[in-house]
Symmetry: C2
Subunit: 152 residues, 2 copies
Amino acid sequence: MQNFKPRLSVEQVEEGHDLAPRFDASGLISVVTTDAGSGEVLMMGVMNAEALQRSIQTGQAHYYSRARQCLWHKGATSGLVQTTVEMRIDDDQDAVWLRVRIAGGASCHVGYRSCFYRAVPLVGDAPLLFTESEKAFDPVRVYGDAPNPTQL
Amino acid sequence: MQNFKPRLSVEQVEEGHDLAPRFDASGLISVVTTDAGSGEVLMMGVMNAEALQRSIQTGQAHYYSRARQCLWHKGATSGLVQTTVEMRIDDDQDAVWLRVRIAGGASCHVGYRSCFYRAVPLVGDAPLLFTESEKAFDPVRVYGDAPNPTQL
């Protein structure tokens, strides 16, 4: 089991070699996941301590699902497992960057390669622009009637 | 002023052209910022509605500083302004991806190019590995005696 270190000083956290992550009041840490090949941002999520420990131990991305309120082994349902090429932690150790290879070439539950498939024009009130023209997979075929995680 | 749309349905949020962001209970949305040239993840942060609106209007990254509890125009103190090349929003519209060019070639308050300057080895309890060998700037010279934002 990974033993996270206690946070003792700003210098230790920012300039040291100890993994001393800071979980928020809900016990979560932010995660950004990019494609190790293209560099594209695939998704953002959160981990609790168990998800971070399992991600380190197994080399596969585990998150905490806020919608389902449970540990989430990404790809357990869809097969779109994420294999970690590199894990990084940020200066104050409250955010994780995962560089991954994705099975099946897609990451997003809507069916696109990346969750970030729409651009926001930098002018007032212009419509979003799609940056992916085709879905990488059919979400109905992959997820069946599993509840959609998007919350309004 | 950017008028965000109300969130009416999963289909509208995931597959539509309306910018209908979901702010959390604290009024914040997650942001990941990457270097538009190298693709490297520079930082993760949050925006409130005002920061998102200003980022769209001005083309420069604005965040909400949880440490200082105020709007944060990145680079206002350090000069390390972030100019947005592209802004994206994710499937359920609770996360923003900014692709930016950074003035001064650095983003992190510790002095490194990226906030993610340490790798977490995927073996139990191994020390963090630095991925940048030299700081891009001297934080003492740039920030003087401003309070360090890192919280223990």
